[in-house]
């Protein structure tokens, strides 16, 4: 009890120096509250983009499709897909499904050619699956059964096209022949996921099936799950069921196993822990420095209290407590400041429009950091722990001060 009081009094003896020490830890803690929130935001953003636009939570595809992906193997599709969707929809784990056909294409417009990525979707289903209407920034959604198309705003701008304009696209069919069809633009879309804003368009699934000669096939079926159901369990179960349903050529895979982007973000998260360790150690050097200076300044004082009967371990504890209090206060203030600067960005987001252009990651151009209790508490405890452990080194030197030597200077 006495030691705590003395430690606290010592901190206040040189307020300016104590604040300087605290601020080093505080800046490190503040930075990492923000960075961990960014990473958490990025993880959630990538997960949403992958599950909604790219892979679903579980994806069903022909097992050979990936191997020949570069050859646009439309013949390696999900045949008689409507029968399969009926089965999937009857499963309690399944919330919504999205049968799709993805195909590369060349668009011809008044003698010019543009390369683009097309997607055949069932617009009625997509309204539920990805809330597609939210992304229509001009015009309206195309209607199934019509030669209508929803074009990404970037592609429309590049081709100088608008609502009501037509364009003709030429692409390889399922039988590896060629076919072309003319579509009318009924809507322009804009996504926060920039990969869908350029060279991308969506057309009714039935019309895409017709001109690609796909019959009743799609290239993949994406599945979103009801709450509290595991994608891992469903994909494993579905894989077995597909064989039982006489479709052994199909495979079900969960989203984390398909895209590497999420793994990269998770890896970044782990790397941040190591970087955070470095930052906190750097911040702690200021505390170590302060403590060392304090110990040298108070050699006589240490000698006196030692001569008065305070043992070596007690002196170590005294200085350790001083360092610990500085670390706790610095971390606490840093975490509060971190929450303070992060919170507005969780609402308004941070724009990375320019930086994300041309980046082939499923990350949105506007990222909203996510503050969570776990990572914030972690930053506080982690920074306190690192700073305290680091301050143990100078504290130990205090016990080595010989009373006779310390008092000789009096």
């Amino acid at each position: 009890m006495k030691l705590r009081k003395i430690a606290w009094r010592n901190i206040r003896r040189n307020t300016r120096r104590s604040i300087l020490s605290m601020s080093a830890v505080a800046i490190a803690a503040m930075t990492f509250v923000f960075l961990f929130s960014m990473i958490e935001g990025m993880k959630q953003d990538v997960a949403y983009n992958l599950q909604t636009f790219v892979t679903g939570e579980v994806r069903i595809r022909h097992s050979e499709f990936e191997k020949y992906k570069h050859l646009n193997p439309l013949h390696l599709g999900v045949n008689n897909y409507s029968e399969l969707t009926e089965r999937l929809e009857s499963m309690e784990e399944v919330r919504s499904i999205s049968p799709r056909i993805k195909f590369p294409t060349a668009i011809y417009k008044e003698g010019s050619t543009y390369r683009a990525q097309g997607q055949g979707v069932d617009f009625d289903r997509e309204a539920e699956y990805q809330g597609l209407e939210e992304y229509v920034v001009k015009g309206r959604m195309p209607r199934n059964g019509q030669n209508e198309v929803l074009v990404a705003s970037g592609l429309a701008k590049e081709m100088n096209l608008d609502i009501g304009d037509n364009f003709t696209l030429l692409t390889q069919t399922r039988g590896r022949g060629m076919n072309a069809i003319t579509f009318e633009i009924t809507g322009l879309s804009h996504y926060e996921f920039d990969g869908l804003n350029n060279s991308f368009f969506q057309a009714p699934l039935d019309r895409v099936q017709y001109f690609l000669r796909m019959d009743n096939s799609v290239s993949e079926i994406l599945i979103k799950l009801e709450e509290n159901h595991s994608a891992e369990e469903l994909s494993a179960g579905l894989d077995r069921s597909l064989t039982d349903w006489g479709r052994p050529q199909l495979e079900a895979r969960m989203w984390k196993d398909i895209s590497q982007t999420y793994s990269f973000v998770v890896m970044a998260d782990a790397i941040y822990f190591i970087i955070a360790l470095m930052f906190f150690l750097l911040g702690s050097t200021v505390i170590i420095n302060t403590m060392m200076m304090t110990i040298f300044e108070r050699r006589k004082e240490i000698g006196t209290i030692n001569a008065m009967g305070m043992t070596g371990p007690e002196i170590v504890r005294l200085f350790f407590l001083e360092a610990f209090y500085i670390a706790v206060i610095g971390s606490f203030v840093g975490v509060l400041a971190g929450i303070g600067i992060t919170y507005p960005t969780t609402i308004y987001g941070l724009g990375f429009g320019e930086a994300m252009q041309g980046v082939d990651f499923e990350v949105s151009t506007v990222l909203k950091p996510v503050l969570n209790l776990k990572s914030t508490l972690f930053v506080f405890l982690y920074s306190t722990f690192i700073a305290s452990v680091a301050s143990f080194i100078p504290s130990r030197t205090s016990a080595k001060v010989e009373p006779v030597e310390a008092l000789r200077a009096i």
Binding site: G111, T113, T168, L170, M178, T182
Partner: protein, 252 residues
């Protein structure tokens, strides 16, 4: 002695000359003449044909049937008749390629890199269909020698492009020395890489001319891929209205 020596040399010279002349019959013709004879045989005022294209690749075999009309070397119209491609047409006039698809509101004029795309996934590109001028207008021909192809004596002719307006800067042709028909063609890139090979497997004679009616093209840049063209019926000298080769008629 001196005189005897001179006579001996003259005799050796004469023998050598006779020997050289005896091996000349195949070389008595120039590369240009061979090309002219080849074109006389293979190019006609008008031709109407029907046939099929059998594409073999790593995913299996695909058969596409077609009808075609041609006028000289510069105008060709191909209309596909197989179920998947029914109604699709390719029109070639001079160096232009136009594509017509029944579901497309506009006729597509191919240009630039798109010309290198494959015709219906085959080993032939649209670019292979261009270059309507005669071979001698576009290439320098050089007779390399003779070689047997499928048991037939052939002239081996090297073609080097005069300019950049041809799909292949260098080609080697093996021309049958009796029938004056192409037996084999190798097409090379600028870096001397073999890009494509064409082998003529079957011929048919009609009105004193000999046509290749079955030939195989292999795109050496594709793995396990070949395309066989089979012409099942050919008529030459038929009346084809010139409007058949117009863009307006294409959409009919």
């Amino acid at each position: 002695m001196h005189n005897t020596h001179k006579k001996t040399l003259l005799l050796i010279g004469m023998l050598l000359a006779v020997n050289m002349l005896s091996s000349l019959p195949l070389f008595a013709i120039s590369a240009e003449e061979i090309i002219r004879k080849l074109e006389e045989n293979e190019v006609h005022e008008t031709v109407r044909s029907e046939g099929k294209m059998i594409i073999n690749d790593r995913f299996g075999e695909k058969v596409t049937t077609f009808k075609s009309w041609a006028e000289g070397e510069e105008k060709t119209l191909i209309e596909f008749t197989s179920r998947q491609e029914r109604g699709q047409k390719i029109l070639r006039t001079d160096d232009e390629i136009y594509l017509y698809f029944p579901d497309a509101a506009e006729v597509i004029r191919l240009q630039g890199a798109a010309l290198r795309d494959s015709v219906l996934g085959s080993d032939m590109s649209y670019e292979d269909m261009t270059g309507g001028k005669g071979l001698l207008d576009s290439y320098h021909a050089n007779l390399l020698g003779t070689e047997k192809v499928d048991g037939q004596e052939c002239y081996q002719i090297e073609l080097k492009a005069k300019g950049r307006g041809v799909p292949y800067p260098r080609e080697i042709l093996w021309v049958d020395s009796e029938m004056f028909v192409t037996r084999r063609v190798h097409m090379f890139s600028l870096s001397e890489k073999l890009l494509k090979e064409m082998r003529i497997e079957e011929y048919r004679s009609l009105k004193g001319k000999t046509f290749p009616v079955r030939f195989i093209i292999e795109d050496k840049m594709k793995r396990n891929s070949s395309t066989e063209f089979v012409l099942e019926s050919i008529e030459i000298g038929v009346n084809i209205p010139s409007s058949r080769f117009s863009i307006e008629e294409l959409t009919w």
